[in-house]
């Protein structure tokens, strides 16, 4: 990955290499989904297939439980996307709470 400050409008996130692979997306407000990347654009609108959502804790929306909800084919609107990362290389810590 090339390091640089990139003031141009071209995207710094090369999702091309993640096409067909499983990625994790977090949204403003705490929602989190995981699925296979099918498409994307410069606004970070993202299309995921075989998507599952991690249900959030009732008391603290930033914490997710072990429950999941199958969503299937999903379009994630870019303006609400907070974070994107590949699922491989993702290492959850033992529950600190």
């Amino acid at each position: 990955m090339t390091s640089s400050f990139n003031p141009k409008k071209e995207s710094i996130l090369d999702l091309q290499k993640f096409l067909g692979k499983e990625i994790c997306v977090k949204f403003t407000g705490g929602r989190e989904v995981q699925g296979i990347l099918k498409g994307y654009d410069q606004l970070v609108n993202i299309t995921l297939d075989q998507t599952q959502e991690f249900i959030r804790d009732a008391e603290d929306p930033l914490i997710t439980t072990d429950e999941k909800r199958f969503l299937g084919l999903v379009v994630c609107r870019g303006s609400s996307v907070m974070m994107v990362c590949p699922t491989e290389g993702c290492e959850p810590i033992d529950n600190p709470y």
Partner: protein
Amino acid sequence: MTTTTTTSNTSNNSNAQFNFFKMCIGRPVVVKLNNGVEYRGILEVVDGNMNIVMEQTEEYLNGQLKTKYGDCFLRGNNVLYISAQPRK
């Protein structure tokens, strides 16, 4: 951290921002988002919208380590601040 003095035009804010990001690239940073979550890792790329790509990222929630990521992309509209870590 030693701050280098620059004689660039002080009215040019993007130049100051540019210099700060150049200084931080490749080095550990702390990024705090609007909802209070902190991400610590190696800063790889920053663009004009303050979109961020980080490596070896750790996510801290209320000060506690929650998850580790290899690569991580943060969308710029959520960024509250970027903080450079002192040199080791």
